[in-house]
Assembly symmetry: C2
Homo-oligomer: 477 residues x 2
């Protein structure tokens, strides 16, 4: 992002006025649109607010913008051309469509992270850069020949990658499948998007875990689905709750994350797994099994996925590279019956024409390479170490203020906050103190919870991050 | 795709029965689902239909499938486990959702291409493999260092790529913009998808060209939009038609492909460009300008895009790598006002969490490299040569049967077919004769048109492809 140059002879406010004038002239802020607030620009450009006020004054003097108390600073309608022009009311268009915006807390967190490079990130559900197999992938890129691969590919995804994923699923997850049952997606996110958009109809009921990552995704509401809750305890969801929701609401699908559930870290017990599949078979009810975290297990491998013991063919299985290797590769997969794979592959052609071929080739090579097993070992050891760092810091800084169960896999720690404090304020105070976390309500939970990601911050930032959070929390008690 | 092994000692039908049994056991064809037809399997596996009949007989004898006249061959419900299980009715789920399937002709073409490797492809709207900068990109992959780039990235797309695209747009398309107004997308397809899903609401009216690529995309209907037509002649659309549609239907947006329009090849005249922008400014009406083909121009560069002379900020500009470099990279871009870029980037996070970082880095490097300009020169020369090959073959094989205007850019030739023949039959006869084209109705045109892509087939396949088509057409006269 552009910043004013402090070595430039021109005053900062003149540089900023020039920069804004350029963006206005290029149509980035069309006539009639509102400029970002003085406060926001001051943070973004790292200058005092008075500098922004002076820059706006310059633009106003040139007739480029107009300011009205309480309505912000707008680009003038009259500046461009002799006759007044009517720019489309872009902000109305931005509010249109069927697609709901991301939750305000999620947008606030992203905005804060973009604006403040030093902020300690315990919110983003991803691995730190040094946990990704960066060197290994750079090596694969150097070693392999990438010629003759650049046209449109199979709508289900590249064949070598689907074959590698089928081998991976057999070896690491006990799932027997073939490349023809696999759809390659842009991570689990796109698998969920395709399922909610293409297999379920507006008004239909589905069951999701409570709390659940799915609440943080407006895509369920965007698809017009009615959501019903399956409370999660330390053994996962209770299968009888599924039966009850089916009887009451004719739910059409159940979304489950059985291993190291996001956000609670719960593992669905063996007994409940059997019963879930039995019920799904009796009711003819699809189970959408999201399994991003299993290979992060710190100790023994977690229970096998539902899909591996699914005799009635009720399970759609979703996996991805994001939490075990690199989220930025955007490689995920779905295992589903033929009719479903065909339908989703067809629909996806209209949305984005499939995934880029490069990351598919690299991901397939990585899965089959000698780098994969050592990478997983290193990842598991590091995650366990970082989890312990987080717990240690919590014990030191927040004793008596939080409660949690130590997870045995995954990237997150789910905490109950004992003092009653308003979530929004707590997030703002934390940002001011130097760290971000995710407020529990994002996951649809009762108030008084928070999710901390120990995978994302650097090791040396975990204790300071917790200290920042503790300061924020104590300031509100 | 799996094929029986003719060197294997086991008879072909046994190998096929084993293969199908495995796919059934893995849940690819769950209990109750219908297997592909004998005819289809015979084509896919390249065996006689009698071999498939024998394989189905094997499976029936084992109780794995059941056949009923007129209802096809189904996987038995009773085979798996002692008690009957209820598999979800997956085919009902596959018919669910708001998202319409691709058009039957498009699916038929894709299916035929997948089944018959020797088919001459004059249907797919993409470059032949040897026109893509494959060597150049392989070189970039070898030369550059790809470490430290693997986390989630900016929701608008990678900054170096957006900067490279901004430079590219200024140099090659006369568009002045900054990286903050650019959204990186998975090709033009995703730009259109985001616009129809996120900026327009169900029931709203939009204007599209007639004929138009947009008719081939059920995404407009999936979004619940009402489509109104702007007839295209050799100078493009008539601006006064836009005014009339606005008055009658309050259209909310106009989708235009001003340079080498797909499928007609028409170029919007200078005079009409000015009038389109004047009207859009008067009405406050957004113009969605799709510009995939401009750099394929065989002679002089085509007129500058609407966006480059858009003073009122009415134009959303869409471009991509697909038709000028490599469709399989899946890299496109949109230039739009700030509010729109922010909104679409936010929505896209929920759909797929953005594009993979690897193709973004490579695309940015390629745009800035010394390889780009020579690649474009080679591309233009080759496309013109292939266009001439197609026209020569048409003149030889189809004299008096087709009419067309030679395009001065783009990948396609749009033909009027003089004899009246049914489109579906013509396509099937062509497939049988050895080539595919796209029937004109896919683009919403009147009957009696066809689109031939000269960019996709190899040079030496163009004349034989036309000969196949001519045979098919003559067989129906």
């Amino acid at each position: 992002m552009w910043k004013p140059d402090r070595d430039d002879a021109r005053p900062l406010y003149v540089q900023i006025a020039d920069y804004l004038e350029q963006r206005i002239a290029y149509g980035d802020f069309p006539p009639g649109s509102v400029l970002p607030s003085e406060r926001k620009l001051a943070v973004q450009l790292q200058v005092n607010r008075s500098t922004i006020i002076a820059a706006f004054g310059e633009l106003r003097a040139m007739g480029i913008v107009e300011s009205h108390v309480g309505r912000g600073t707008r680009v003038s309608m009259m500046k461009w051309g002799a006759a007044p022009r009517h720019t489309p009311n872009w902000s109305r268009y931005a509010e249109g469509g069927q697609f709901l915006p991301n939750l305000p807390f999620m947008r606030r967190i992203r905005e804060a992270l973009a604006e403040r490079p030093g902020l300690i990130d315990m919110a983003s559900g991803e691995l730190a850069g040094d946990l990704a197999p960066t060197e290994e992938i750079a090596t694969l890129l150097k070693e392999h020949d990438y010629t003759a691969y650049l046209g449109y590919d199979n709508p289900q995804g590249s064949l070598p990658l689907r074959q590698a994923v089928a081998e991976y699923l057999l070896r690491h997850r006990g799932i027997r499948t073939t490349e023809s049952s696999i759809l390659i997606t842009s991570g689990s996110q796109q698998s969920l998007y395709l399922i909610t958009q293409c297999l379920l109809s507006p008004g239909e009921a589905v069951a999701i875990e409570d709390p659940s990552y799915c609440y943080s995704l407006p895509l369920f509401q965007s698809a017009g689905l009615r959501l019903f809750r399956l409370p999660v305890d330390e053994g996962g969801v209770n299968p009888e709750d599924i039966l009850e929701l089916y009887r009451k609401h004719r739910i059409k699908a159940v979304f489950l994350n059985p291993n190291y559930q996001n956000p609670t870290g719960a593992v669905l017990s063996d007994e409940r797994r059997k019963r879930v599949l039995e019920l799904a078979g009796e009711l003819g009810l699809p189970i959408i099994e999201d399994d991003p975290f299993s290979l992060t297990s710190y100790g023994d491998m977690p229970p096998s996925p539902l899909k591996s013991i699914d005799q009635a063919g009720t399970v759609l299985y979703i996996g991805s590279f994001s939490k075990i290797a690199a989220s930025g590769l955007r490689v995920g997969w779905m295992v589903a019956p033929h009719a479903i794979v065909e339908r989703l592959a067809d629909a996806r052609q209209q949305m984005d024409f499939g995934l880029s071929i490069l990351p598919q080739l690299v991901a397939g090579q990585f899965l089959r390479s000698e780098h994969f097993a050592p990478h997983l070992d290193r990842l598991r050891t590091s995650l366990q170490f970082k989890r312990d760092l987080l717990i240690e810091a919590m014990d030191k800084e927040l004793r008596g203020l939080v409660e949690f169960e130590a997870p045995s896999g995954g990237l997150h720690l789910w905490c109950r906050l004992l003092p009653e404090v308003p979530e929004g304020k707590l997030l703002e105070e934390s940002i001011a103190a130097g760290t971000v976390f995710v407020p529990g309500s994002v996951y649809g939970s009762d108030k008084g919870y928070a999710r901390f990601t120990f995978a994302r911050p650097k090791e040396e930032d975990i204790a300071p991050g917790v200290a920042c959070f503790a300061r924020a929390l104590r300031s509100l008690i």
